[in-house]
Amino acid sequence: MSAQTPCKLKASDYKSDTKPVWCPGCGDFHVLLSLSKAAAEIGLQPEKIAVISGIGCSSRIPAYMNCYGFHGIHGRALPLATGVKVARPDLTVICAGGDGDGFSIGGNHLLHACRRNIDITYVVMDNEVYGMTKGQPSPTTAPDWDSKIAPGGIGISPFYPLVIALASGANFVARAFSGDPNGTTQILVDAIRHPGFSFVQILSPCVTFRPDQRDWKKQVHAAPVKPTSDASQAARRVMTDDGFNIGVLYKGSRDPYQQHVGHDIRFDRDIDEEFLP
């Protein structure tokens, strides 16, 4: 995160007056709470935070936070967040969205955001379904999830976000559970403070299209190991993961992307030169 003068605000000060339209019981309510608590805990100034999202239920989150925000287009949250961070390195940039937005339409952007290692925290609220468009299987849906729209299941191996993030070069990799807002807050604080690209998968139940996910709270458990800075060790762990280990998996020490020293980029000037006579 960027160095800022800490301020003293309550978590509720980071919530906007816009009321969420998520379904009652949706895990995203607790993710919003955790993000607000994390911002308060770090003492971030609201005008120094930018929350950038794509499309989907969870991507509504910028509207519900009292800070800068941009509700972008489907799957393109990470390119937008990258642009914001490069243009305004003084801001703490949080990118947020769901599993469909981040792993399918935006899947390619995830790989390259991890690789670039720009100082962004990417929060994916994973409910293994496209909720906003009424329950289609997403990249993280189990192959045998039987539903009206995919009778008998889709039979395709799911996407493993933590493995992909790790292999692509993310500097911080963690999994959280929305039903543990205080634990999620702790992970988010850690993720935001860690330099470089931080990836946090938050298991966030969709109670409307995946009512079975109400049982997640019985299935999640604390990861039995401490975070490692050894990528190969982290990879071995995550490859044998049951999908419900909660905690920080990996903390790397790769230097975050910075504009080349001495390379004076001024977007407004460059654009002027390009377009003005």
Binding site: S12, K19, P20, V21, W22, C23, P24, G25, C26, G27, F29, H30, K37, E41, K134, G135, K148, I149, A176, F177, S178, G179, D180, P181, N182, G183, T185, Q186, V189, P205, V207, T208, F209, R214, K217, V220, H221, A222, A223, I246, G247
Partner: protein
């Protein structure tokens, strides 16, 4: 995910007890208010009103705790540093128990469970305390929660439990044919 703490096995200081008590109530005020808004958006006005009333009830309790704290400087704890019996504060709303068609009975049951959790928390704090003043205050808070439990039970008795078809929706969200 953190391991659940072993509750209040270590005694609370006066300031710690007040900080925990205040956080329980303030988080409950916020949670019930948000639940009321959610229910209102779904057209479940009766349950929305109940949650609003619960929020007001918790706000009164929070105000009382503030008055009790007076000039005592409360410790600033990170959210994960509180010593709750579980992962979250005793009156934290379990979203898994929330549904857009939930009945007043279910809403009150949720609140009753929370009040019972809070009462157990303060009783445990009283039982483990080695300081007479802390023990007395924890017991007073437990008695307040016991009063809330009684109100919830009384309230609950005015409603009938939901039938098997309580979540029947003639126009369900899963509308892909």
């Amino acid at each position: 995910m953190r391991e659940k703490s072993e509750s209040v096995s270590a005694p609370f200081s006066m300031a710690e007890l007040l900080a925990h008590a205040l956080t329980i109530e303030l988080e409950a005020v916020q949670s019930y208010r948000e639940l009321a808004q959610q229910m209102q958006q779904c057209g479940n006005d009766e349950v929305a009103e109940l949650f609003d009333r619960m929020s007001a009830l918790e706000a009164e309790h929070a105000a009382k705790i503030r008055r009790t704290a007076g000039a005592i400087e409360l410790p600033e704890l990170a959210p994960w540093e509180y010593r709750w019996p579980g992962l979250e504060s005793p009156e934290n709303i379990d979203l898994a128990g929330v549904h857009y068609l939930m009945t007043p009975y279910q809403a009150l049951q949720l609140a009753l469970d929370n009040e019972n959790n809070a009462m157990a928390f303060f009783e445990a704090a009283a039982n483990t305390s080695t300081d007479d003043r802390v023990r007395a205050l924890a017991q007073e808070f437990a008695d307040d929660e016991r009063q809330h439990v009684a109100w919830m039970q009384d309230w609950l008795s005015k409603y009938t439990p939901p039938g098997d078809d309580w979540d029947y929706d003639p126009d369900p969200p899963v509308a892909i044919d």
